[in-house]
Symmetry: C2
Subunit: 375 residues, 2 copies
């Protein structure tokens, strides 16, 4: 790339803001951001780079080589199995060797939880710029649930690395096989691996990525932080950002109450389960099912939101998103939903990331229609 | 390699002889050779090569690049999931690309079932010579159960391919991780994949491979065929070849009777189960446990043979070995054992391929001691 026009991001509060915004957009998934925050904070004082440059996709050369990155596995595992810190850099070196090309820029494959922060760690180690975009506009549990798969970009060659130095180069004839192989291998290696996949040109990033999602995550976090100091409601602040965003547009509170039950197991590389929330007066109950990410929310038998729309569980007081692996009995929560970007709602996208892709019988309906949020 | 001194093998009966010998040495595993025989027969009339050159390990240059090859998965799967025919050639091309070197020769990673024949298919497509050796002196269910692992040769880089064109390059920090990852990925890809691993120099082949096992398999098959036409007992012929071989040395019949029960399931990429055999007078019972290969044989509670010694189930009349996935109720069988080559019986080897490596509590004891075959 000849010129990078970007903005530097890691000012005093940006990391916390970004983490809070990613957690919300992640729909409960993408992993708990806590360890990533610790790693970034450590790198900021110890690395040769002390800032990260975010560039707009517009500034990419058409033939730039851009690599989405992130972690694959069950978030419950990543709480206990810490990274060694070499996974992403070792993967990047191998990826460049396989491609015979240098990577010009990186971005998060999903804007959620710790995966939204993953490229920041790599950027602080390499100086690579991060493109202000992601591949999902949220987080999804399976790697083929990405807009690049919808438009026919190949996941291969994918490079997976683990904390011990094990490396896999995966070339599959379709993107579903890539998920199957990567998931099985990640489980065999302990349940949490770093993955580069869907490497693409600058032109493809411009055409197909979900743009501006890092900025959006930052803005969500910043607004929430600012209203807290003024005593206003941070959930309102979060929703106002979503409603003003052209790609998302609708957002609202689906339910408010206390978590009365969490069922969760780590199965085949996923955290799978459900939670039950009861209103404080005990009159109504919501069930939310999840597979890493929250997939569907029902009040009694009435569906009020499904994938790909965002469903996040927020702490009642702080409005901080509680990722699925951190849900506990007794937490007082608001279940908040936001409409997914339009490109995730096409028939082709819904076939890959809608309710039927998770084996659910419920038909997708936009959350704003289900809840009468249209004005 | 400058000069290849070898012998051509595929005369009129050699294929059948080889398959019968491999099946016996395979200890019930390595896959049913039937489809491999069909594929080789077809190649012999359609390929540009109409013979295979077998070379002695002695003739290899020290710096020759030699690739063991074979199939990984459950033999029960390979009965139903046929190869496309492109797996080994695609894997070879990728392996040479990863190494940046041409492969000079190949050999079977294990001398058993269809895996003993696998290099013949590749040789008929490429003209590559086959080294008269293998890595196990028999067959084992797990890929790290190989003499090259015992002596510290790395399995990486390993290249795995499937019938659809999916390809994995696996680099692991230890050989146990290579088996775990390859097995998990093979299961994800349908349960049967072609694998190159433990690529080594000519010098390493000379030092560490189990030599002469292709010749031995051929000789076993040839002797069995010749005595059949004369009306003598083919099991005796088989055992006489084993007893005259310096590496194996001891062999005998453990039990004779009718199969009264077979329990077998395909689990985590293996065929796992046991069979029960009863003497024709109903007075005694033998149990044989298997994981792809036969692992232990007991008469009542008395252990009469365990891995790594060879335990094969032979048809009473023909002395043909019945691979574990072909065992059926009612078959009349002889359970035959042969002592494993000495290098498989060292403490270091037993830790990797002895009873404890399969979670069995029984201590290894040489089959000739257990059965008083020493003269």
């Amino acid at each position: 790339m000849s010129v990078i026009k970007g903005f530097s991001v890691l000012d005093e509060h940006a990391l916390e803001d970004l983490a809070n915004g990613c957690a919300f957009l992640g729909s409960g998934g993408g992993g708990d951001p806590y360890y990533s925050i610790l790693e970034i904070t450590s790198l900021l004082s110890n690395s040769q780079f002390n800032d990260v440059t975010i560039i707009s996709a517009d500034t990419l050369d058409d033939d730039a080589v851009v690599a989405p990155c992130g972690w694959l596995g069950a978030p419950t595992v990543s709480l206990e199995k810490l990274p060694s810190g070499t996974e992403a850099t070792a993967g990047l070196a191998r990826l460049e060797q396989v491609l015979g090309k240098k990577i010009d820029a990186i971005f998060p494959v999903e804007i959620g939880g710790s995966n939204g922060l993953a490229p920041f760690i790599l950027a602080l180690k390499t100086g690579l710029p991060i493109v202000d975009c992601d591949g999902m506009g949220r987080a999804f549990p399976e790697s083929q649930m990405v807009i690049f798969n919808v438009v026919g970009i190949s996941a291969s060659p994918a490079v997976m690395t683990d904390a011990k130095g094990n490396t896999l180069v995966i070339d599959t004839v379709d993107n579903e096989a890539e998920e199957l192989v990567a998931r099985a291998a990640a489980v065999a290696l302990g349940g949490s691996c770093h993955l580069f996949e869907y490497v693409q040109t600058g032109k493809q990033v411009k055409q197909h990525a979900i743009h501006g999602t890092i900025s959006l995550a930052l803005e969500i976090g910043r607004k929430m932080r600012r209203v807290k100091s003024s005593g206003s409601d941070p959930t309102d602040a979060l929703l106002s950002v979503i409603r003003q965003n052209a790609d998302y547009g609708y957002g609202g509170i689906l339910f408010e109450g206390k978590i009365t039950d969490v069922k969760r197991e780590t199965n085949q590389g996923f955290s799978v389960g459900h939670l039950l929330v009861e209103t404080f007066d005990g009159q109504q109950q919501m069930e939310v099912k999840f597979q890493n990410e929250n997939l569907i929310a029902k009040i009694g038998e009435r569906v009020v939101a499904t994938v790909p729309d965002i469903i996040s569980v927020l702490d009642c007081e702080t409005a901080q998103t509680i990722t699925t692996e951190q849900l506990r009995y007794g937490q007082r929560v608001k279940i908040v939903s936001a409409s997914a970007p339009g490109v995730l709602r096409s028939p082709a996208a819904l076939a890959i990331m809608g309710p039927s892709a998770f084996g659910m019988v419920e038909q997708y309906q936009p959350v704003e229609l289900l809840n009468g949020w249209e004005s």
